[in-house]
Structures are given as structure tokens and as C-alpha cells.
């Protein structure tokens, strides 16, 4: 017998079942009536006589919305159906809906978008292909161009804001740049997504047809979430993910939700939720549709397993990923994979393999500009050298990684590397320098709730205190501060 507790909704379900035994439960509008009223409703929407503000979205009306999809689906493909779907989509999107626990409105919008685009001249595939370009990675020349012109992004958005007529390809291109740069210059992207969000939210100009605007809003919200994640602003990142998911649910191709789900894992990882990741990702991977996200989720899983000290499990995943076609086509992932392989080999004492993997990662990053991966690799090589007893060289690499993270605005890594530097300084007997590093890192450890780093800092301070019995008051204050944060 299971000892697990039942869900809190179960007592209500039990009461419902008891109350409805042998009674006829009213089911609202019949299918036939809903279809008939949907025809009238669609005619009113197309004629412009129905106004979203004046509609009360009750339970029968929701039936009519669903029935409208069936009506639209039965119409012949072509311009007229496309226009009808567009009118219907905009109308439903503008409705004020309360208590939509099962996201029925989003589901209706998603279906209307699919029917609509299928009726358009190029069909659904043309639209999905154009949107997929937003997420294309791996083209090294394009990547370099985007990075080199990153400082023009703000100006680009300003130009768009001033334009009377907005061209969809131009907005899409700007959104694609935001996504690419969210890992390269997160501070700039975070600011740019605010401006871009305002532009997309403006009621003055119509952008695209059907779900175009929702897709763009989703992309911008996701870019914003990724940027804030890199900046360690968890709440803002979570809000971005929620907005992105809400927008993508309303689009014709909901597999974009995979991107949100997988990127969310990175926050869990950064906050030390490795056990949660190890438990949830294998099942999640089975449900993902986008191959790139499957690969990304497994790379995150491998990192979580490394953090949990499950090195052989991590190695199995990384070795399997070496054969993954996504890895082969995307230099950033390839560099990430080799870097993690190097880390695992280093921990397992396979020093020659570790060095080979680090070299492979470095060779990719030499031609493919990715400062985040490069800083990560620099830090990983530093750890390997530290493990081999080359403490001064390791400190040099840690400081280089820290400087790069600082330049990118990734303060949580700055705190993390400060603790690592302090640890090696204690080993070198430089206790005063170690304390100075820890003191500088404390606000960051507190700000980003870095529990593991906090624990390490307490241990290091204890060590420093034991070796150098001066300035006890400062050290005690520091320790108390950390303890307060950790409990």
C-alpha cells in the first residue's frame, strides 16, 4: 500500500462523485447548438459587429469558441478562410477571460492560428520555417557578425520604434539577434528587450497576421529571461519564462514551449537544484520535440550529475552526446560538451584525456566567439591545474575567468570564482588575501543565494582563522553573516 498522501483536490473530487451518482449532470450547450451559434458568431466577427469588450465569456460562449474552430476547419483553403481566421484570432485574443484554469483560450487561439496559416498561400510550413530561422545556431559567420554588431542593437530597435509601418522580417531579425546575444551580452539584451516589448505591445501599429505578434512576444520574453538568468536576476528571469510560455501557447507551433522548459532548467542548475534536475530531465527529454532542446537538456543533466559527483553517469551521457548530430552542427554545444568531458576526466584522474578534451574545446572557441563558454573553459582548466597542485597557475586562470564573467555582468560566477581563488590562497598560506577575496565575494553570495559557495566560504574562513589568529572579530562577523544567509 502506498504511503504517499493524496492530492489536495482529491477530497473535492470525492464529494463531486458522491453528489453526482445517479443524477443527470447538465452539460451546457449541445454540440449541434454550439455549431449553429458559432456560424452566427463568426459572421458577426467578420462583419465587425461583435465587439470583444461587450462579450461575457461564460461557459456557453466557450463552447461557441471551440465550435468556431470546427466551423473554420471545415471551410475551403484560401484567402477568405485565412482572413476569417485572422479576424477570429484577433477577437479572441482581445477578450477578457477570467478563471481559465485549463488555458482553453490559448488552445483555441493555437488551433485558429493553425487553420488560418494552413489556408494562407504558402501554407503553414512556410510560416513555421520563417519562424524557425529565429532559433538557428551554428552558422559561425553569422554568429560573428551578430556579436561584432551587438552595440548597434539598441539603435536598431530605436529605428524600428520610429517607423510607421513595421516589416515582419525586420522585427524577426532583431528578435533573433536578441536571442543570440542573450548569452553574450546579457545586460544589453535585458535593456533591449524592454524597448522591444514596448514596441510589440503598442496598439498603434498592427504587426503581422494571426499569431505573428504572439510569436514575437514569446521570442522577446524568452530572450529577456535568458539574459536575466545570465545576470542572476532569478525573479525577472522567471517572469520572462512565464510570459514566453503564455505567448507560445497561443501560436501555431507550440513546440517553442520546449525552449522555455529547457532554459528554465538552467536556473535550477545555477541555484544548486542538481538533484531535481537529475530526477526530472530523463522524463522531460522524452517529451521534447525540438532536437536542439533535447541535446541542451542532456548537457544540463550532465552538468547536474557532475555537481552531484555522479561522474560515471555524466560520462555516459557526454559520450552518447558526442554522436548527436545537433552537437556536430553547433560549435557552442560542442565546446560545452568537450569542456564537461574534460572536467569529468579530470575528476576521474584521467589527466591525458582531460587535457585532450579541454584542448578540443579551446580549438572550437578559438574560431567561434563565445565568451561565456570560454570563461567556463578557463575556469575548468584552472580547476584541473589546481587538482594537479599547480596552484599559482590555477589562480591565474580563475582570475581570468572571473574577469570575463565580470565583463559580461555575470555576477554570480564572479562570487563563485572568488571563493575558488580564496581556497587556493589559503592553501598557499596567503590568508589575508583569501579573507579579502571572501569579503569581496560576500555580497554576491548573499545576493544570488549561492548556498554551496556560502558553505565553502564558511569552511575557508574557519581555515584562515586557524592559520592566522588575528582579526577574529571581522572573521566572526563574516561567518555569522554567512550562517544567517544559509539557514
Amino acid at each position: 500500500m502506498s504511503t504517499e498522501q493524496e492530492h489536495e483536490v482529491v477530497p473535492s473530487i470525492r464529494e463531486w462523485l458522491a453528489a453526482t451518482t445517479d443524477v443527470e449532470i447538465p452539460l451546457g450547450m449541445s454540440r449541434k447548438e454550439a455549431r449553429w451559434r458559432a456560424r452566427e458568431f463568426l459572421a458577426a466577427v467578420v462583419a465587425g459587429t461583435a465587439v470583444p469588450d461587450q462579450v461575457e465569456v461564460d461557459y456557453d460562449f466557450t463552447d461557441i469558441l471551440w465550435a468556431s474552430i470546427e466551423e473554420l476547419n471545415g471551410k475551403p483553403l484560401g484567402r477568405q478562410t485565412f482572413d476569417e481566421c485572422d479576424c477570429f484570432y484577433q477577437f479572441v485574443a482581445a477578450l477578457s477571460v477570467e478563471n481559465d484554469l485549463f488555458d482553453e483560450r490559448d488552445e483555441v487561439l493555437h488551433r485558429a492560428a493553425r487553420v488560418g496559416w494552413r489556408s494562407a498561400p504558402g501554407g503553414l510550413e512556410t510560416v513555421l520555417e520563417a519562424r524557425a530561422a529565429t532559433w538557428k545556431h551554428g552558422d559561425e559567420r553569422r554568429h560573428r557578425e551578430v556579436c561584432e554588431t551587438a552595440d548597434q542593437l539598441t539603435e536598431r530597435i530605436e529605428v524600428l520604434t520610429r517607423q510607421q509601418v513595421l516589416e515582419l522580417p525586420e522585427i524577426r531579425e532583431t528578435c533573433a539577434r536578441l536571442v543570440k546575444l542573450s548569452n553574450i551580452c546579457p545586460s544589453m539584451v535585458a535593456a533591449a528587450t524592454v524597448a522591444m516589448g514596448a514596441l510589440l505591445g503598442s496598439k498603434d501599429r498592427r504587426i503581422g497576421r494571426l499569431d505573428d505578434i504572439e510569436h514575437l512576444k514569446g521570442v522577446v520574453a524568452l530572450a529577456s529571461a535568458m539574459a536575466y538568468r545570465n545576470l542572476g536576476r532569478w525573479d525577472l528571469a522567471r517572469s520572462g519564462y512565464a510570459r514566453a510560455a503564455s505567448a507560445f501557447r497561443r501560436t501555431a507551433e507550440t513546440s517553442d514551449l520546449d525552449r522555455v522548459e529547457v532554459d528554465r532548467l538552467a536556473i535550477e542548475l545555477a541555484k544548486g537544484g542538481c538533484a531535481t534536475i537529475a530526477a526530472s530531465v530523463p522524463a522531460l527529454v522524452q517529451t521534447l520535440v525540438v532536437p536542439r532542446d533535447k541535446t541542451k537538456a542532456q548537457l544540463i543533466l550532465a552538468q547536474a550529475l557532475i555537481d552531484l559527483d555522479r561522474l560515471h553517469d555524466a560520462m555516459l551521457i557526454l559520450e552518447r552526446l558526442r554522436q548527436d548530430p545537433v552537437i556536430g552542427s553547433e560549435p557552442a554545444f560542442q565546446a560545452w560538451l568537450f569542456s564537461k568531458l574534460g572536467v569529468v576526466c579530470s575528476y576521474l584522474g584521467k589527466d591525458a584525456e582531460a587535457v585532450a578534451a579541454f584542448k578540443a574545446s579551446g580549438a572550437i572557441l578559438k574560431r567561434f566567439f563565445h565568451p561565456l563558454q570560454l570563461a567556463d573553459l578557463t575556469g575548468a582548466v584552472g580547476k584541473h591545474l589546481g587538482k594537479l597542485g599547480k596552484l599559482r597557475e590555477a589562480i591565474t586562470l580563475y582570475l581570468a575567468a572571473r574577469a570575463e564573467f565580470q565583463r559580461m555582468g555575470q555576477a554570480k560566477f564572479v562570487g563563485y570564482y572568488s571563493v575558488l581563488v580564496a581556497e587556493l590562497m589559503v592553501l598557499l598560506g596567503k590568508n589575508e588575501d583569501a579573507e579579502a577575496e571572501l569579503l569581496a565575494a560576500l555580497p554576491l553570495i548573499e545576493r544570488f543565494d549561492l548556498k554551496r559557495e556560502g558553505i565553502a566560504a564558511v569552511a575557508l574562513l574557519r581555515e584562515a582563522m586557524a592559520n592566522r589568529r588575528t582579526d577574529l572579530t571581522t572573521i566572526r562577523q563574516l561567518r555569522d553573516q554567512l550562517r544567517k544567509e544559509l539557514h
Binding site: H7, V9, V10, E24, W66, N99, F102
Partner: protein
């Protein structure tokens, strides 16, 4: 449960002499009806092409399963949606099989039409 849906006055009727507990229970059932029962019935109806009565049976079956299987900490909303989807798909499949057998029994020479009925309408739309 006498009348239902918006303009027909809700799911639960009340009578004179009802106690506070009964009233509270009625209000809770009404909320349950509107926020959980009806949306799930609509899902089974419109997403899976069932008639309302079959959709109701599917949702009631999902609730019976929930009493046994739904555990604390899980996402009840997602669980109910996916269970309704599975049960509705099974019901459609059974219906299609029965229709095929009936067609074969009534007209052994013409089986092709009934064979096509097994395809989920959503799957058919996607493949178009």
C-alpha cells in the same frame, strides 16, 4: 444536480431548510462544476470529437481514477488533462472499431469506409 450551465442556473439547486454546511457544499460543487468539470467536458468534446454525453462519462472516469492515483505534490491540472485525453482517445478508438465491425457485419463487401474512421480527426488534420 438539477440544472446547469450559465443561463440555466448552475449545477446545484438549493432548497429551504438547508444547513450552512450544505450551502457551503453546494457552493463548492458549483465551483467544481464550473472550474473543473465543464472545461474537461469541453476538452473531451471539442478536442477529441466526442458527443457531450460521452465526454461527461470520460471526465467522470478520470475523476474516479484521480481518487485512486492523484498524489500530493503532483500537477493536478496537467494530470487531469492528460488522463481525459487518454480516456477520450481510447473511447474513440473503441467506437471506431465497433463501427468497423458493424459495417463489416451489415455489408461485408464495403469495409474501406469504416476502416478510415479509426483515424483521430486531429491526427488527420495535422497530416494534411
Amino acid at each position: 444536480v438539477e440544472r446547469g450551465a450559465s443561463e440555466r442556473g448552475g449545477a446545484v439547486g438549493t432548497a429551504k431548510g438547508t444547513t450552512v454546511r450544505q450551502l457551503r457544499l453546494a457552493a463548492e460543487l458549483e465551483g467544481f462544476y464550473r472550474q473543473l468539470f465543464l472545461p474537461l467536458v469541453r476538452r473531451a468534446t471539442w478536442k477529441h470529437g466526442l458527443c457531450k454525453e460521452d465526454a461527461r462519462d470520460v471526465v467522470q472516469d478520470a475523476f474516479v481514477l484521480a481518487v485512486v492515483k492523484l498524489r500530493a505534490g503532483g500537477n493536478a491540472r496537467a494530470w487531469l488533462m492528460s488522463t481525459v485525453d487518454h480516456l477520450a482517445t481510447n473511447l474513440r478508438r473503441k467506437g471506431a472499431r465497433r463501427a468497423r465491425l458493424e459495417a463489416r457485419w451489415l455489408n461485408p463487401m464495403d469495409e474501406s469506409e469504416a476502416a478510415g474512421a479509426d483515424i483521430d480527426p486531429e491526427a488527420r488534420r495535422r497530416s494534411e
